[in-house]
Symmetry: C2
Subunit: 443 residues, 2 copies
């Protein structure tokens, strides 16, 4: 018996030929897509669950290439201020006190809810307490590549980077066979990890053939400091350490010289662009169209809820399209279909999972979303790609299937109850606000 | 008896002191707010309708300062191309054939639905067939300032600009006593109207003491052509004609020199910034923070669905905050509260209706929205302004009251059925696509 049959489906496959099937049917057996095509041909097959997709677009789930999901509990805590003040006076002091295993669990749960509701079926994360986050992912049924953060200094979960790396080794090992959640090393950045630590992380990633997740050249301060310290750009410096000799997911890449671009292309580094976070923190604009021209795989990410403050990939798609057009003074840059590719099949490529997900194709794992297009702001329909990028919003998502499991159906979570998590998150925020006002009174 | 009582309300008043009432009650009698405060004090008063606002934010309706609502039927028809190609090969040819009274009615209805659903209670428009649009506004219960477009050449509704101006005079006169819908003159731009036509529009606006709505200095081409033709910038040229001697709503103002800025300030010109449209068409970035510093009232607008492609003011708020921060290299520019002001009380000032709407205050007309903040992406709550600008989306709007009438309640339209309009819009789009493919075959 088929697990799920999706009928009356307007299917955006995002396969190699960008095929669109205006009226079709999808069959899912266990976690695999086994049929896409005419409904009549499979009308004799019974299914455990039938989803009537009438009025919906059926498309691959969106992939968020770079976030810190658990930071959702800090969303809106500190806005409209420069990065240095934001980090040093708000994020770091708060994290040092409130980034506990319990709070990370609540934050991850909250962030993942937001992602699922807005059609994200897979995300690449970087944070502390990854075993806890992995557990939440499994409970909520979302696919994830969880970067265990490693820093030179004491982190919320490990006192030293060596401890963090040793633990990461075990975590990778314990998740490497898992089809949905994989823990990977995430040395925070070239300016917060020394050369030896960076290289240990690289070695570890290569040992298990997993990607390494790292922040690269996010701000002009980082770029100039790297030049002053190493006489090398951040990209050149990382390359000189052999950090790109293996699968790499490089978040941000805002300041990229022509030579940097050649290095990224030659070393097949994968890049995640986070336009809204880069704008909000005034970091700058990544030269994404130039990176793509150089055949560097680029996908989009929201970054954390503190610097965005949303995990909605539909927003990210629109802003990416707009800012790169403006930056290149060319309205034809990054047309809508390219942007959709960057958040589906292209993003799967960036994360190294395009053999498993990123498109609706027979044999792929079923990460599929249904989006209600029968609404005034999505009518009339000329181009579905245009609507996805320029007119849709996260809330248009009706149903989410991840790895063959219906995790969200007709706007209702199937595996979790959001209420308890929302109450927990507000209690943490109340404690943070109380502590903040105490600190201010002491000063 | 009270018309509407809103109880358990978390009220963002946007009044002079930016007062927030965490648990209060609002009473509306006919179209006027008559009470804001403790619920106990009015518990003895009966109301025709009681709205329990538990879990919602209650705030002033959003104001869209510049749009062309009826163009909703063209949404997604032509994207990812430069302005000239977009206008000359897609918008103008399509409008010349399809901009009929009937299609404008459908387009306006569709656009207004989208606006209401996303919390917009008032908009300033510029288009053809304004009596038809006025009728739709009345049926749907939305507040509007409808600019009757005037151009040198033949328009869809009038063969000559003189005819358009004569008709506009009657239209203004017929709506000037109406509290919710006012028709005003809208000479399209300094480059599509000759000096005499511009001045006749100015005279007409002044005769009835209504604002004039005009596109000003939207692109670098317009700016440079004006310099080449008149040896004056668009702002200087309009000023030289006396066009700013009276209430003016100037849309765009992307290219503004220091002297232009002084003129706008001195002449008390009101400005509408349309960041998403300006980015999508690669027009540029208006120097909004500098305009505000010069005490020029600025509000936000979506522009049309063809150059955006959304009428959701929440999106516009976020992108405005992000792009102006980036453009000024200062993350503290346009903090969230300023952005919310620009779409409520500040926008009412720009449109000249701040004596009537823009805030929740006793004596003002009741344009109020309820937004569901009890959702994962809006939890936890540190700052309501941050959430409105950076985390909310149009779909979070639950209920909309305009001029004391509930037009949208718990996500359901109260005065119209959206289905018929959506079907009509798709039929128009089908005809447009058919005609387009015929044209392409002929070529």
């Amino acid at each position: 018996m088929i697990s799920i049959k999706i009928t009356n489906a307007y299917i955006l496959t995002m396969n190699e030929t960008f095929q669109i099937i205006e009226h079709g049917c999808i069959c899912i057996e266990n976690n695999i897509i086994t049929y896409i095509g005419d409904e009549l041909a499979v009308s004799h097959l019974e299914a455990h669950t039938v989803i009537d997709a009438q009025g919906n677009l059926v498309m691959p789930g969106l992939i968020n290439g770079h976030t810190h999901a658990a930071m959702s509990i800090y969303k809106g805590m500190a806005d409209d201020m420069p990065l240095k003040e934001w980090l040093e006076h708000h994020i770091f002091p708060t994290e040092s006190e409130f980034c506990t295993k319990e709070n990370v669990e609540t934050g991850a749960r909250l962030g993942i809810m937001e992602m699922i509701m807005s059609g994200t079926t897979c995300f690449a994360d970087m944070y502390y307490f990854t075993p806890t986050i992995a557990e939440v992912c499994k409970q909520m049924g979302i696919r994830a590549l969880l970067g265990q953060a490693v820093l030179d200094f004491k982190a919320p979960d490990f006192d030293t980077p060596v401890q963090a790396i040793e633990a990461t080794k075990e975590l990778i090992n314990s998740t490497v066979q898992n089809s949905c959640v994989q823990i990977i090393p995430a040395p925070h950045s070239p300016y917060t990890c020394n050369a030896g630590i960076l290289q240990q992380c690289r070695k570890l990633a290569n040992e298990y053939n997993v990607p390494l997740h790292i922040h690269v050249s996010e701000t002009i301060v980082e770029y100039n400091t790297s030049l002053a310290t190493h006489n090398l750009t951040p990209v050149q410096y990382l390359n000189s350490l052999g950090m790109f000799d293996g699968k790499t997911i490089a978040a941000h890449c805002v300041y990229i010289s022509d030579e940097d671009r050649n290095i990224l292309a030659e070393k097949r580094v994968h890049v995640v662009n986070n336009p809204q976070s880069n704008m909000k923190l005034v970091s700058g604009i990544s030269p994404v169209p130039l990176l793509l021209q150089a055949n560097i795989p680029v996908c989009l990410g929201t970054d954390s809820s503190v610097s965005n403050n949303s995990l909605d990939m539909f927003q990210e798609m629109k802003v990416a399209a707009l800012i790169h057009k403006l930056n290149q003074s060319d309205a034809s840059v990054l047309p809508a279909r390219d942007i959709v590719y960057m958040c589906t099949r292209g993003a799967a490529k960036v994360l190294g999972i395009d053999n498993k997900v990123g498109s609706i194709e027979v044999g792929k794992q079923a990460d599929i979303i249904l989006v209600n297009i029968n609404q005034p702001h999505l009518v009339p329909l000329y181009s579905i790609y245009s609507h996805i990028v320029y007119a849709m919003q996260g809330h248009d998502v009706d149903t989410v299937i991840i790895n063959g499991v219906i995790v969200y159906l007709q706007k209702q979570f199937q595996l979790v109850d959001p209420l308890e998590t929302m109450i927990d998150a507000q209690m943490i925020a109340n404690a943070i606000m109380l502590r903040k006002s105490e600190r201010e009174q002491q000063q």
